[in-house]
Amino acid sequence: MTENVHTGSIPDERPPANTVGPIAWLRNNLFNSWYNALLTILIIYGLARAIPPLLDWLIFHANAIGTTPQECRANGGACWTFVSEKLRFILFGTFPYEQQWRPLVTIAIIIALVLISCDRRFWKPWLGLAWVAGIAAVAILMWGGVFGLSYVENTLWGGLPLTLMLSVIGLSVAFPASILLALGRRSQLPAIRVVSVTYIELIRGVPLISLLFMASVMFPLFLPTGVNIDKLLRAQIAFIMFAAAYMAEAIRGGLQAIPKGQYEAADALGLNYWQGMRKIILPQALAISIPPLVNTFISFFKDTSLVIIIGLYDLLGTAKAALSDPAWRGFYREAYLFIGVIYWVFCFSMSKYSQKLERDLRRGHRR
């Protein structure tokens, strides 16, 4: 305030009192016209009606952990015993109880891999190797049968590891595939272009559910009898195919935004097609595509819950199964709130991370 560049004859003045401060803020933002004032009042009224009962159920009348279901039902508040009682089943599904450290370590490995991949300093070739090693470790942990681990059939897998494996493995395979599809769609070679466009438009024109049904019901028809591809693998392939088509379109948007001059400069320097794409075009195009890509990532993460319709028990599936225990029937709100929070934590982290990445990539670059 004391450091003032202004050296003219008119001294600095504070802005008029009615344009600053909380009162002014309220007037400018909530009551700046009669219909906004009306909306504000309606919303405040609605919140006043909704929040107290919600808090009451969630906190004030909630049942402490350890209460029996009968007591919970009599009391009426949230029954967190349900969550603590069913926690391991919801998180790990029907994986053998005493072996559940294995899916726990799986979750830790996957989350650790994702976290280190988030840091741009680690975007080096060894990161790819880390992924391969990590996924191998996950496979060994989940299946077992080696190193003294008992064999666990993948029909017993479920809960959070299943959700994470479907989405993380799905996205990490679909992402490179989608780059190829997006480049293919803009290729000079008609055959490659036609194949890419046909693939993308076919997959985008079909709901994910029907793709999953096809993977589980129709796909075996095409295979010779005796050959049987695992149901989980089929679902994983369906997801990859689906995500790749959507992400390819997000990336195409980025590619189209790159000025022609960038391609020409890359060509004129003697870079070949792949060098130009890798060093010049894709880094810029992918940076532009971050918002739509993250959008796809998030919806894809949530869409893994659709595998329930082909009989796989992801997080949502195990929560539903937990509810079918006769002793604990009826605690829907607790179950769905719990997994809702888990989904939200993952999706919100993705969204926050993408904002940070966008900021980092934009820093310094353009005018």
Binding site: E264, A265, A268, L269, G270, N272, K279, A287, R367
Partner: protein, 260 residues
């Protein structure tokens, strides 16, 4: 106006053979006949200025020389290699031919230094340290070394164009093509870019330059080529070209650009 006359008397370096040869080159955009019967021979060390009205095909011609555009008839031979659909040959030609664009086309996601080292590292397979040393040498030469770690978006237009010139020089090209390198610049920045180009010319770089900077043409060019409606109408030494133009189209063009 034979070839022999056209080759300059001003050259301080001996002619070292032919670098570019175009024979009866034609190009069409769809039905539109944009280049017609282009015959051109450029000797090593020659400095050529190409001028002509807007839309006459100047950019198209020099973009054909590194195959950013494809010609449909005739032959173009650059550094002894004929430009055809052969991708390997195209890449070989492009690494010997530098190009500077009207709108700079620097890579905005890379620093100035990275812009300059990219092609030497990936195309010439130079070690990173060597490429950086080379880049700093050329950045010094265009007098912008102190900005090496900035991003292009942080530089002025004139500075960006000088970086673009340094980026091309890092490939040690045998020929440099310039497509109106100063026409997107604010007037006060034109000189700093022209000075760099004059320096290059003095060092004996073979240059083809599309420009309307007639002062540059007079002082630097060995030969001025005038194009109109896709044809080379006239080519001559700057002295002859400006003082006694042969064709009416040239006279009209000169009267327009010198009087405005």
């Amino acid at each position: 106006m034979s070839m022999a006359e056209a080759v300059s008397t001003k050259r301080t370096f001996p002619a070292g053979g032919e670098v570019i040869r175009c024979q009866d080159v034609h190009k069409w955009y769809g039905e539109f006949h944009v280049l017609r019967n282009i015959n051109l021979s450029v000797q090593k060390g020659e400095r050529i200025v190409i001028c002509g009205p807007s839309g006459s095909g100047k950019s198209t011609l020099i973009r054909c020389l590194n195959r950013l555009e494809e010609h449909q008839k005739g032959n173009i031979i650059v550094d002894g290699i004929e430009l055809t659909g052969n991708l390997k040959n195209i890449e070989l030609v492009r690494r010997e031919v530098g190009m500077v664009f009207q709108h700079f086309n620097l890579f905005p996601h890379l620093t100035v230094l990275e812009n300059c080292t990219l092609a030497p590292i990936w195309v010439r397979k130079k070690p990173k340290a060597e490429a950086e040393e080379l880049a700093m040498k050329y950045l010094k030469r265009v007098r912008i070394a102190e900005q090496a770690h900035k991003y292009p978006g942080q530089l002025s237009g004139g500075q960006q164009q000088r970086v673009a010139i340094a980026r091309s020089l890092c490939m040690n090209p045998k020929v440099m093509l310039f497509d109106e390198p100063t026409s997107a610049l604010d007037p006060e920045m034109v000189k700093e870019v022209l000075d760099v180009m004059i320096g290059l010319a003095e060092d004996g770089m073979t240059m083809l330059c599309v420009t309307h900077e007639m002062g540059f043409a007079k002082s630097v060019a060995d030969r001025v080529i005038f194009m109109d409606r896709g044809e080379i109408v006239e080519q001559n030494t700057p002295n002859e070209f400006f003082n006694s133009p042969q064709s009416d189209r040239t006279k009209l063009f000169l009267s327009q650009i010198l009087n405005h």
